[in-house]
Symmetry: C2
Subunit: 273 residues, 2 copies
């Protein structure tokens, strides 16, 4: 099934599920609230009327944790000059870092802003210390993310966090597709386009650490709860890997697409201060 948080006329949002070609209201303002309250209830018990004329918003506005993996596609690891890892490289974002699938990404002018198309895993069950099969069972679904990165801040120190946690710069969405419908291990195309030019294309089959492995690994040290996100890393083709490096310009349109899920389309807007 496909779930979304939809913005209706007037600006209010609602959680919704796609059934029979239409979006049906669920009794929560967004998918974060829906999962927190109803993750163990059959969706068919909760179906409301069809929602008309709405557009996709940030599906999960309030995850307690957004854990991100770096260096998880062989070709991206190679372009950064590193060897294949024995453990996943992890860093954190906060809920504030996220933004919707069609929102402008606003940043001060003068930063080196780069793209990173990624598959994001949505946790559906509370877990800690899960093994691989428990982790697989705890995955509710998948969505599209772009781990837009401020490279000059990311490189200021050893720790990437300050280049990765600018408010409202990581678009997520447009929908969450449940894990019974798509399987990243079987292969989903991950594509990033900048102003219509394809910059990244790879397949989730090539993930060094796949979705259940990452979720299990993270759950070793921290509890994951319904609505938490795990971003699985980006393939090769980022701007800092180009010769010379190329970054997003003011007004650039960033498209991030994963087959079977959908497309994010975000315009970059540089501000004066």
């Amino acid at each position: 099934m496909r779930f979304a948080t939809l913005t209706e006329v007037g600006g209010r949002t609602t959680a919704a599920v796609s059934l029979d070609g239409g979006w049906h209201r669920l009794p929560a303002p967004d998918l974060s609230a829906y999962l927190a309250a109803f993750h163990d209830r059959p969706v068919t018990d909760l179906l409301g009327e069809e929602v008309q004329g709405a557009r996709a918003a940030l599906p999960l506005p309030a995850p307690g944790k957004v854990v991100c993996c770096g260096l998880n596609y062989a070709d991206h690891i190679t372009e950064t000059g590193r060897e294949l890892p024995t453990h996943p490289t992890l860093f954190a974002k906060y809920a504030d870092t996220l933004t919707g699938p069609t929102e402008e990404i606003r940043l001060p002018a003068g930063l080196d802003v780069d793209w990173e198309a990624e598959l994001a895993v949505v946790v559906g069950t509370e877990i800690r210390g899960a093994d691989r099969s428990e982790a697989a069972a705890a995955i509710w679904g998948y969505t599209v993310a772009n781990d837009v990165s401020v490279r000059d801040w990311q490189r200021r120190t050893l720790q990437w966090f300050q280049g990765k946690a600018w408010d409202r710069t990581t678009p997520i969405g447009p929908v969450v597709v449940t894990a019974d419908e798509i399987d990243p291990a079987a292969g989903l195309q991950v594509v990033c386009r900048v102003d219509g030019v394809e910059r990244q294309r790879d397949n989730t089959r090539s993930l060094v650490f796949d979705a259940p492995s990452l979720v299990a690994y993270v759950s070793t040290f921290t509890r994951l709860r319904p609505g938490d996100l795990v971003l699985t890393g980006t393939p090769g083709g980022v701007g800092m890997g180009m010769t010379p490096p190329a970054y997003l310009t003011d007004g650039a349109v960033l498209e991030t697409e994963i087959s079977g899920i959908g497309v994010l389309r975000n315009r970059i807007a540089f501000t004066k201060d």
Copy 2:
């Protein structure tokens, strides 16, 4: 003034303030909820009856953000073999990483668990893009923290996060002392003892990036809200800097003290799984 979250008989918690030698109830279950609801109200409007026989709990159980600075005392930077930084090295924890001032710190046996005594800054006003003086004005108070670190996991990859975000391993407390009463720039002693043996002693005067600088820097990229925490980094004397390196053992008692605030006293308990 001194604020705390107190656990009463029966296990319920309450926010409280110390006045005239006694702790007085405030109308919130903890300081996170208190700051969220009342950060701009005079505390004298909110005073309840005196709380008897309570003990200090984790003062801020629900910060939206816990941003930590590494490498911020000259002697600790030297012991890790690095040069003085031009920018603060930042990484993130989540609310789940925190624990109370007298709680056991439970971790699986076999990890290299190290101590890092730190001053923690409590944000009192929502800020984004603050300059130094705005940041200073947004600091509500200070508390004690120990950024207990799982060194073997911290070193597995380039990013420290996975060694820094084990649930319930960063003790915080026992109280928050408001910024009108103490000034880290004027000098607070930061001390860490393991089983009674002093391992760290330094003074907050020696911070490379002081509290207002750190808060201002973080607010450049993310909004800080009442109850958020900024940990300011640890001085020299950590276990990994010893020859040979020494880590916390099962049953070890970790004491973390900052002059003018108080002492955390946490026992380490290694679990079998």
